[in-house]
Amino acid sequence: MKVLVAMSGGVDSSVAAALLRDEGHQVVGATMRLWGGESDSGCCSVADVEDARRVAAQLGIDHHVLNLADEFHTHVVEPYVADHVAGRTPNPCIECNRHLKFDVFLERAEVLGYDAVATGHHARRVQLADGTWRIARAVDSAKDQSYVLHPLTPEALGRVLFPVGAMTKAEVRDRAAALGLRTAEKAESQDVCFITSTEGRRKFLAARTELHPGRVVDVDGTELGTVAAVETVTLGQRRGVGASGGAARRFVVDVDVPGRTVTVGPPERLMVDHADLDRMVWAGPSQGGTVPDGPVLAQCSAHGDPRPARVEDLGGGAARVWFEEPSRRVAPGQSVVLYATDPANGEYVVGGGLAT
């Protein structure tokens, strides 16, 4: 096969390219330049492009740089800012996968004559008995990225490979070291790739939208203090809202951006029995084709523990997830990803959407 490997300059995609090459595929590497601004942790700095280029040279494969900065700005950065303004908690990695890596990049690869694209994500692609492709959890559960890959359509998934999903991170690093790749010991990227650790989220947002101070009140109406920017507060948050000093534990139980008010309360005020989702993407033969009526596991944040649940399709891209046990409310804008389990494939994605 002719495979275009998305090489971020990290160890995982470096090894992904090496594995495919060793399997005898015609492999070409490509680094997406996503962000024109300053960044110290992203997959798009000049240093990372250089790492990807040098690894490609070591592997003896061609390497290209694709400039997707405009698309990234439109589909990831702008919505990220808009979500904060609307009081939501976005996950930009998911939007990048949805719109960039497995839409624009996949489309470019196809036009250029590639049979498939590959990335260094830790996830597995499994084929169910009915012939459909699904995303399943990686062998290394601590590194599993199936959550951020959930919006891949079944059509896209048929043309995507995750070569390192069957390996542990330690195995990936060992392989890179054995090949003498310069990325073998490279630190992992953290957090949001387009925001530098020195700049921080608030400064990044402040440069792009107006942030507003807000009051912090207890559920009984007691004024507790203020926050510098109500747009940066997330439901369920405990730190940074001046609510940690009291005797009782207090969590953010409501964020009212237009009213410039953050309400805190005891943890039980966050407990709910369901979550409503929109922008659902159902895995399976076609979108909306397969709504599981059995039990599922609902993962409600990138590193959250899956919760036993059932799902109800409300139509029009909406769904309701019923938790088996009272659960912490999901912050609006966060993705809830649903997994089914079978002995052959382990946990695999059956659908996902955004909490409303």
Binding site: T31, C44, V46, N67, E107, V111
Partner: protein
Amino acid sequence: MSALIDLDHAATTPVRPEVVAAMEPFAELDYGNPSGSHRLARAAVRALDEARERCAAVLGCAPGEVVFTSGGTESDNQAVAGGMPPRSGTPVCSAAEHHAVLDVVQALDGSVVAVDAAGRIRLDLLATELDRLAATDRPPAVVSVMLANNEVGTISDLVEVRHVVDRHAPGTPLHTDAVQAAAWLDVADAAAHADLVSVSGHKLGSPKGIGALVVHHGAQVRPLLLGGGQERGRRSGTVNVAGAVGLATALELTAGSLRENGGRVAALRDRLADGLLDRVDGLVETVVVDRDRSHVLPGTCHVCIPGVDSETLLLLMEGAGVCASAGSSCSSGAAEGSHVVAACGVPPELAAGAVRLTLGRTSTDADVDAVLEALPAAVERLRSRA
């Protein structure tokens, strides 16, 4: 992989065999540092003196007016900033300048003057801006207008620019970036009215890393690099003797074949541009109206193709063996939107399909044939997917 077809001669050119031969003695034999006084040094000094005289003869200046630099970017920086520290006053340039000029002007809080649809500085706006600046406490410090544009190929008339500068800001030095032009035009004539002229060796068949800044007519330029005081104190650092010899040789060979090479390449370019216009629906030849290319460098064919993303198009063409460019690249190698094409008033959706095809002295009929096959096929493929 099939043979590589180089349609990116504006980016760089192959080194001429005569240049390699001329430089060769300075690697192991006459390797001396020209700043010394012993025999080894004297051989290097002699070579450097001769190279300087030969460059001066081609560039139309006195030998003492040639400052050897590391290339076009350094020459542009020194000319525009005026040295270190920079000149007082306001540097002025056109909106279509190379980043080596434009970014310096912007860093020094200078003025950028709009260009017309062909990419030439608007003389009326230049006059207005010079008048405006003259009345401030930061009057014009330098005016920089490129002799020929590196992306779209438009040649400027420096006589007109000189008249405007003399009338509205008398005494202000005029700089021209002749980096692209030097491969095609008689710089001594075309840039005769400029006080400062930048050239670069690798655009005309010498290696990268050598260039020159011509400092004419008593123009005042301080050094950017301080140190040993080489180049009459205008550029410190041990002079690249082999590079200077290479530059001199390349300039002479280029000057000696200007008419013949220009005519031959212009004919190739015309066949290329006409062929693309005939074969690709909606293709627009940038800065050219009714196929009149008399104002464009012989080697340049810049086109915009509606409904096509140039980055993908270039990758498809590379697959067919053709190397071309979208105009400019950032340090990572990714294509970037061109400020030149935008300055010429090309709408963004058309500019997204910009492709610069540049021919050179080694280009052949077969190269043109290959592009006339590869480019329309790539456009067809992209449009059928849209």
